[in-house]
Amino acid sequence: MAVCIAVIAKENYPLYIRSVPSQNELKFHYTVHTSLDVVEEKVSAVGKSLADQRELYLGLLYPTEDYKVYGYVTNSKVKFVIVVDSSNTSLRDNEIRSMFRKLHNSFTDVMCNPFYNPGDPILSKAFNGIVSGMMVQTS
């Protein structure tokens, strides 16, 4: 269902980015990179109103012709971005939410690994597995 999943560090550099191999990878890099503008904007807007009780899920960041870009920000300002195909209308908001939750849980596991250095690219196989699961689920 997802065509691209990315994890972006607090300082806005990618920790993990993976897209469906069939398509131009660079294109997704651009998509995710530019989506950060919206994420930042949303985060700063949310931060003003409600500091503590924050909704992590940012919702649809922006739609493009072919894709929809969804965002999610953890409390430590790590961003998750999921790009899905626009043609996939069966996907509801709730499903996207659950995908993010799953991603977040897996990311937490990665961070719990004492051999993982926060800020390094994520190379965890378990995490990769979760992501693969989300990318192929429907296809």
Binding site: I8, A9, Y13, P14, L26, H33, D37, V38, E41
Partner: protein, 989 residues
């Protein structure tokens, strides 16, 4: 209407459009000079009414766009200013003709026009016209601005009359239907009498009057008219005009809320020159007096009601845009409305909503766009994204615009423009072209995107015909993105780098672009990667030593205190930088780098040398070739300091792939270094040593191999003596002025009897000072006397040999005989090493201290050491000693059982006795007649008892003296005939 004006903003709705154009031949620079002066008159306060008229100038305007003038009056060209040159009076009619031709283009909408004629000397026959002004030259035209103001006022009069005309037109039964160009054919044959049609006409007219009011500076009236228009048009579902009315409403509200303007810097309205009143006040008096109502609270309330709130503005913009969106032909209007809304949102700091408008704008299809229009569109999108703080999105569109500049469909690709635009995208991709920023680690991430951009920069700069730039960018790419490049990419990048550098070698100079941007040099600190830098000491033989007493003096002058915490502290700091050895001027010095090659193929590094400061240093560059993915690889860089002083190794320079780089160590925090500051002392001479004996690989144990310049080895029988000739040559450039020789026996547990090494230095010293190239020889005699006693295993069971012996059966015969008490100790200490081979080793070091030249003045000297390794084989053993009384009472017969442990035939001779021939491993008895003597008659030993510290030493010394005594009496010698050696036996202690 196909060409959108991306620079438009909401407040442009209140301006009147004036086109300024050249007719005939007008030099471009002169035209723009005049144009600028005209454009400076952007707002004019109208004398009687206190209203302000805003003017928008264009030097280029499509008549096609002019046709939309009824739809939004600010699109209507109402004024025309023509600029022309006219050299002579006879050309004048022709010029005037051209002016009229130009007027024709906009004739349908024009309120008024002017012609400015430059360069005409003399008088014109024709009568003075109000719409023509003559100036003798482009320089002498002081009243251009005033003339333009007059012109604007005349436009205002027309505008005002039109406004009044239309506003009071309500009573008229037939209202003309205003329409946009593409609607015209739709209304053909429509029932003009229907209520619906009438309402439509009314609504549109209302909207038009609103526009006119806005232009005429009557904001309040405009708002009222717009509101009415919205109601009318909504009722008849005239969406396009409803959109326009809503947009008008928005524009008027924006003008009210944001008097500073929404256009930002690009089209910022000048702070009013003619009327320094506060901007917010500008509109109010104008609007109020125009209505003829004095300022009171009721109008304020009315205005507040009519005027949209900031939130409403956006909602209405959205609505308007959605209406425009229904019409394919209104794409430009929609796009412009989006741009205007974005500018308003940017001021309201509502970036997310602005991005939605922009997102919409991206999808507006304007039909077939020319390449130039595409570039313009992408650039403006980028600019707008920048405005709302979406730097990444901005960079994305800028990059698209850059790529558009060089699209394959363009016959003449604009590489220069492409390059310039690409450079502007750098901050958006958080890239800086300074490798220093990169090493700080602030540029992590988005490697794929950044790499793409760098590749494009390289390509664009190459196509621009600037290989120097390409080399710089490619170097940067290689240096900073090395970790992200795949092996294949690394190969490609380096190959193209080599291609470029073959034309234009890369260097360390800062490249300054035409727009002032500086591209700092990119040193290849990762090709190869240097892990540690270590300054090496000179080899031991060349190491300078400080003369002791001078050193002590230095220390004492440094501080009068034995201990001071402050000085200690300072010294500690100094020490952490300064290395505690010295280099010598004129001698080759070495620095060891541990490097490795991160590339998947062999890396050729050329011209690798040291960068130093402090003293004159001649670096001797090295070329190296590192195997693929090599591990740590030691590289030694050498150089010769040419002057004395403190030298600092700052870094190293390399030349890789044709790019030479200076890598400074301070910029490389990952490099381990133990200090880079070392003292260079004045030059010292150099001595080379050669010997008559073969060299050996043996090294005396406590000294490392490094400390010895060479060593010799020789094999001797016990008691044998050999001459060693040493030739010393001065191979340096300084005279040797002094020479000292000392020796030290090392690593021996055995007691050596007599002098092991002896020499006479006097002869050699007479040759001093030794000039460069000269030699001096020195002979040293090596003499070994060791005690092989106690090695019983060497002796076969002698008693079984059938030699009958009488006397004392002892293993260490002589000693036991003479000093039985001392023997007990000796036996016990030696018994533990019975398994030792019968060869004993003697080692000694000869130290030559020499100095000369400038270094001597400074108190330095050099040491050259020669290791001497002697393997001693046992020669003659006395297995038994006994005495027999002789015929004379003063004499006796000394009977010695002599054993030959060697593999050679051996002859033993003694005083008063015949020679005795001993075959290998044979034992025979020798009888010597000797005079009796008393040991106690050796008084000289006790004269200096203080020189012997312990009784044991005293005892040894006595033994030694007694041994000498016995030796002189007996004078026993042995010789091995086959080896032609003839030596004195020195077995006797």
């Amino acid at each position: 209407m196909s060409v959108p004006d991306y620079m438009q903003c909401a407040e442009d709705h209140q301006t009147v459009l004036v086109v300024v154009q050249p007719v005939g031949i007008v030099p471009e620079d002169q035209f723009f000079k005049i144009y600028k002066r005209i454009a400076s008159v952007s707002q004019v306060s109208i004398r009687d009414s206190q209203r302000l008229l805003y003017i928008r100038y264009r030097h280029h305007y499509l008549p096609e766009n002019n046709e939309w003038g009824d739809f939004q009056t600010h699109r209507k060209v109402v004024g025309l200013v023509c600029i022309t040159t006219c050299g002579a009076a006879k050309d004048w009619p022709q010029t005037a003709e051209r002016f009229h031709g130009q007027k024709e283009v906009y004739s349908s909408t024009l309120y008024d026009s002017r012609l400015l004629v430059f360069g005409l000397q003399g008088e014109i026959a024709e009568q003075q016209r109000t719409d023509v002004a003559f100036y003798p030259s482009f320089e002498e035209c002081a009243d251009v601005e005033r003339r333009v103001e007059d012109f604007v006022e005349s436009i205002f009069i027309v505008l005002e009359s039109k406004r009044l005309d239309r506003a009071t037109d309500k009573s008229g039964d037939k209202i003309q239907l205003l329409c946009v160009p593409f609607e015209k054919k739709d209304f053909v044959g429509l029932d003009t009498d229907s209520r619906h049609y009438k309402k439509r006409c009314q609504g549109r007219m209302r909207k038009h009057v609103g526009d006119l009011c806005l232009q005429a500076g009557m904001l309040q009236d405009a708002l009222v008219h717009y509101h009415m228009a919205v109601e009318l048009l909504r009722a008849v579902n005239d969406f396009l005009w409803l959109g326009a009315a809503l947009e008008g409403l928005c524009s008027a509200s924006v003008i009210f809320h944001y008097p500073g303007g929404t256009a930002g810097k690009t089209a910022a309205r000048k702070p009013s020159i003619s009327q320094p009143a506060d901007a917010s006040k500008r509109h109010r008096p104008g609007a109020l007096t125009a209505n003829g109502i004095s300022a009171d609270t009721s109008t304020e309330i009315g205005r507040a009601k009519n005027c949209l709130s900031p939130e409403d503005i956006i909602d209405k913009y959205k609505e308007a845009i959605s209406y425009y969106g229904k019409y394919k032909n209104a794409g430009v209007i929609e796009l412009e409305a989006c741009v205007k809304a974005v500018r308003v949102l940017a001021i309201q700091k509502r970036a997310r909503e602005a991005s939605e408008f922009l997102q919409n704008a991206v999808y507006i299809n304007l039909g077939q766009l020319s390449e130039e229009e595409k570039i313009q569109r992408y650039s403006i999108l980028s600019e707008l994204y920048e405005l709302i703080g979406f730097h990444r999105k901005s960079a994305f569109f800028k990059r698209v615009a850059a790529m558009q500049c060089v699209a394959p469909t363009i016959p003449e690709p604009g590489w220069r423009a492409c390059y310039k635009l690409l450079l502007e995208t750098l901050p958006g991709y958080s890239l800086s072209l300074d490798p220093k920023d990169f090493s700080k680690g602030s540029h992590r991430g988005w490697a794929a995107v950044q790499m793409r951009l760098l590749h494009e920069l390289v390509y664009a700069s190459r196509r621009m015909g600037n290989p120097g730039l390409s080399v710089r960018h490619l170097s940067f790419l290689l240096q900073t993105m090395l970790d992200f490049l795949s092996d294949q990419e690394k190969k490609e990048v380096t190959q193209s780098l080599e291609n470029y550098t073959s034309k234009c070698p890369g260097g360390m100079e800062v490249i300054t672009l035409s727009d002032g941007l500086k591209l700092p040099p990119v040193p290849f600190t990762k090709l190869p990667i240097v892990r540690s830098v270590k300054l090496l000491n000179l080899p031991a033989s060349l190491r300078p030593h400080k003369v002791k007493c001078l050193l002590e003096q230095n220390v004492s002058t440094a501080s009068p205190f034995i201990y001071s915490p402050i000085i200690m502290h300072n010294r500690g700091e100094e020490r952490c930088k300064k290395i505690d050895f010295q280099w010598v001027q004129g001698d080759v010095c070495e620095v060891q780098l541990m490097v490795y090659n991160p590339m998947p193929y062999e890396l050729r590094v050329e011209n690798m040398g040291l960068l130093t400061s402090g003293v004159e240093f001649e670096s001797l560059p090295a070329a190296l070739s590192l195997p693929a993915e090599s591990g740590l690889y030691p590289v030694t860089l050498v150089g010769v300091p040419r002057t004395a002083g403190n030298i600092t190794v700052n870094g190293y320079h390399t030349s890789v792939f044709g790019v030479s780089s200076d890598c400074l160590l301070e910029g490389l925090p990952s490099v381990k270094t133990s200090g880079c500051l070392v003292e260079v002392i004045p030059s010292l001479p150099r001595l080379q040593l050669s010997t008559s004996l073969p060299r050996s690989a043996h090294t005396p144990q406590p000294m490392s191999k490094e400390q010895l310049s060479s060593s010799v080895s020789v094999q001797l029988f016990n008691g044998e003596e050999q001459q060693l000739t040493i030739t010393l040559e001065n191979i340096g450039s300084e005279d040797i002025e002094s020479l000292e020789l000392t020796s030290k026996t090392v690593n021996t547990k055995d007691k050596v009897f007599g002098r092991f090494l002896s020499w006479d230095l006097e002869e050699a010293l007479r040759h001093l000072p030794l000039k460069p190239g000269q030699t001096v020889t020195l002979s040293i005699s090596i003499k070994v006397k060791l005690d092989f006693s106690g090695q019983e295993n060497l002796l076969p069971d002698l008693n079984d040999d059938g030699i009958s012996v009488t006397g004392l059966p002892i293993s260490s015969p002589l000693r036991q005989l003479l000093k039985p008490r001392a023997e007990n100790k000796a036996v016990s200490s030696e018994s533990g090493k019975a398994e030792y081979s019968h060869i004993k080793t003697l080692e000694a070091v000869l130290n030559f201290k020499y100095t000369g030249g400038a270094g001597k003045v400074e108190g330095y000297y050099r040491e050259l050491s020669l290791g001497v390794h002697v393997d001693v084989e046992p020669s003659v053993f006395f297995t038994r000693v006994s005495t027999l009384p002789a015929t004379s009472t003063r004499q006796c017969h000394l009977l010695l059982d002599i054993f030959n442990p060697t593999e050679h035939e051996l002859t033993v001779s003694a005083k008063n006795s015949k020679d005795l021939v001993l075959h290998p491993s044979e034992c025979q008895r020798l009888a010597i007649q000797v005079d009796k003597f008393d040991f106690e008659s050796l008084p000289q030993l006790y004269q200096e008892p203080a020189s012997f510290s312990s009784p044991k030493q005293l005892e040894e010394e006595r033994q030694h003296a007694q041994g000498c005594q016995i030796n002189s009496k007996l004078d026993i010698c042995w010789s091995i005939i086959s080896l032609q050696s003839d030596y004195r036996d020195c077995m006797v202690a």
